[in-house]
């Protein structure tokens, strides 16, 4: 069974756009709503693309801004200017 990579954010206007971007870019994403927070599970590999987030927000976005809203992550992280990726080796 493939392990889930996941990320959780505080629930707010910015993360609403970020979660929408994740859902667009990760077809297997499962969004779990919890009080004050939202968690997204993706089997194997979860990617957040800067371009998609910018499109959702309608403004420039630096992926390091994710730090403001992060609650937790699972998976090995790789971060560049354009993509923030969490993955488990199967």
């Amino acid at each position: 069974m493939t392990s889930n990579a996941f990320i959780a954010f505080q629930k707010n206007e910015e993360t609403r756009c970020i979660v929408e971007a994740i859902v667009d870019d990760n077809p297997d994403a499962v969004v779990v709503d919890q009080p004050a927070m939202v968690k997204v599970d993706v089997p194997g590999r979860l990617v957040i693309k800067r371009a998609t987030v910018e499109e959702k927000m309608g403004r420039d976005f630096d992926l390091q801004e994710l730090q403001l809203h992060l609650i937790t992550i699972s998976g090995h992280l790789d971060e560049s200017d354009d993509e923030f990726t969490l993955s488990w080796e199967a």
């Binding site: 630096d62 730090q67 403001l68 998976g75 560049s80």
Partner: protein, 514 residues
């Protein structure tokens, strides 16, 4: 938002220039003399430049984002306090979960800050040094924001004001204290496994994610903002811990058995510490969101399995205790709550018997164990309390020599039997809560014979308020524990009939009526 980072350089180049390129090798003194601690534990490192910091956070970006987090946090905290937010929590029992959480956690955050500033000095590579320095500042931030959060509640409720004094003296605070004392007195790499891996990965996910989400559900914006703001740093901390484990395993195959033993040891220590966090979720949040068992399955079993499946490529095996923790997830929170309930005079927070609908919730969430083992005990206590005979155990607890939890958990495979282990070292007998703690002791007996256990030391006359004559005729060891603890009597006893309960009802009525 005023936080655009210059786009002139890419993230990776910026990180390289601002972190790696600012480091240098010493020449007046050889490097191994300047950094001796990294060799003490037997870990072999050949190339420190192989350490990757996946967040690639540079100091300038760090200050910018942390400042923004602080502004958000204090805006919420101020609004909560200005709005009499403490009266909007679900009910006054909720305050007791804060007494336990905020009464135990800040001193541990401070120990983590100290530990990471030590390790930041001890590590050789620029990558881990900078990451450890950032984590040290983070932990200091958590320590301070938690205390700021206490101060508003402390104006209204009893039992919050002596947490710093009680940290080293109170029986039930000893397990957390001993976790950090053990980690900080180990070497830098073991400290990283203890805190970066076991504490951050195993424990903070449960403490700061479902528990804090629960605080939000119970109307406590103050604990929610402090908890989530802290947890926004923890994602970076977990990454650091995981990176350290991968780095050690990739550097030399001889590191594997050492790392494996630390993973076994610290996963177990983290698990033991979690019993009280789980109890907070299952018993102390009036509005519940998720049982400890469910949180354990998501954040430890599934997430831990993902991690250990991944680490299997280095030869790492799942921690030895994994199977036992799965069995225990259905028991430990009930055993912990019953343990605290039985000692109403010895805690600066109140306990109570859950209401009938809450007992039903527990029955539903723990179908294999609650009705069979624990509900009858709680219902018995309830009948005793209603008959005016509230259970009150006035004896000192017995604590485990390694994890310093009170010995109260069950024998594996037999929920009706309490688990005790003992071993003799240099003619002296030592007691443990489990096989895992006994094994940890036997690996490092010279370290653990020094464990300070206040409930045992009290019987030797070592825990007395100043001015006590332990040689007096009528001296009775442990008779003045309340003074030694600086216990506020108003904060003790059952929730029913407490000053907090009366005040909360009175103030809430004032807040909603003229």
């Amino acid at each position: 938002m005023d936080m655009k980072v210059s786009k002139k350089l890419g993230l990776k180049e910026r990180y390289t220039m601002m972190t790696r390129d600012l480091a240098w090798d010493t020449t007046f003194q050889p490097m191994d003399k300047v950094f001796p601690q990294v060799g003490y534990e037997g870990i072999k490192i050949h190339d420190w430049d192989k350490w990757e910091d996946p967040f690639r956070l540079t100091m300038d970006a760090y200050w910018k984002y942390q400042a923004e987090k602080e502004r958000k946090l204090y805006a919420i905290l101020d609004a909560f306090n200005q709005n009499n937010g403490h009266l909007s929590v679900t009910d006054a029992r909720y305050i007791n979960v804060l007494k336990l959480f905020l009464g135990s956690t800040p001193p541990l955050e401070l120990m983590a800050a100290r530990g990471f500033s030590m390790v930041a000095r001890q590590m050789v590579g620029a990558g881990p040094r900078v990451a450890c320095m950032m984590q040290s500042v983070d932990e200091y931030r958590h320590f301070q924001t938690q205390i700021h959060s206490i101060s508003n509640y402390n104006r209204f409720y009893n039992g919050l004001d002596e947490f710093a004094h009680q940290q080293s003296r109170m029986w039930y605070l000893s397990d957390g204290k001993s976790f950090f004392d053990d980690a900080i007195t180990a070497g830098p790499f073991e400290f990283m496994v203890a805190i970066g891996f076991a504490f951050e990965y195993v424990l903070t996910n449960i403490l700061f994610v479902p528990f804090i989400s629960g605080a939000a559900y119970n109307g406590d914006m103050a604990a929610m903002t402090v908890g989530f703001s802290a947890q926004s740093d923890e994602a970076r901390h977990m990454t650091l811990g995981l990176e350290c484990i991968k780095f050690m395993l990739e550097q030399d195959p001889d590191n594997l058995p050492i790392v494996q033993r630390w993973i076994d040891k610290w996963t177990w220590r983290g698990t033991r510490k979690l019993a009280s966090v789980g109890m907070m979720m299952d018993y102390m949040l009036p509005k519940r969101i998720m049982s400890f068992k469910e949180a354990w399955e998501i954040y430890f079993e599934q997430n831990g399995t993902a991690l250990f499946t991944d680490l299997a490529r280095y030869g790492v095996k799942v921690p030895k205790c994994f199977g036992q923790t799965i069995e225990e997830k259905e028991h430990i929170t009930h055993q912990s709550w019953i343990g605290f309930y039985m000692k109403p005079d010895a805690c600066p927070f109140h306990t109570w018997i859950p209401a009938p609908d809450e007992l039903d919730w527990l029955s539903e969430k723990y179908p294999n164990t609650f009705d069979k083992y624990y509900r009858p005990v709680l219902e018995h206590f309830d009948r005793q309390e209603k008959a005016g005979k509230r259970f009150n155990n006035k004896t000192q607890p017995m604590n485990c020599q390694v994890c310093v939890s009170t010995i109260k958990f069950n024998e594996p495979g037999d929920p009706m039997e309490m688990c005790f282990r003992e071993t003799v070292y240099k003619g002296e007998k030592f007691h443990f809560c489990s096989d895992h703690c006994k094994e940890i002791f036997e690996n490092e007996p010279e370290k653990y014979v020094q464990t300070f256990i206040s409930s045992h030391a009290a019987l030797q006359g070592k825990c007395e308020p100043e001015g006590t004559d332990v040689n007096a005729h009528d001296y009775r060891p442990g008779a003045r524990m309340h003074a030694y603890w600086r216990m506020d009597k108003r904060a003790t006893g059952d929730f029913n009939g407490s000053e907090d309960q009366k005040n909360f009802a009175k103030w809430r009525a004032q807040a909603t009526k003229n």
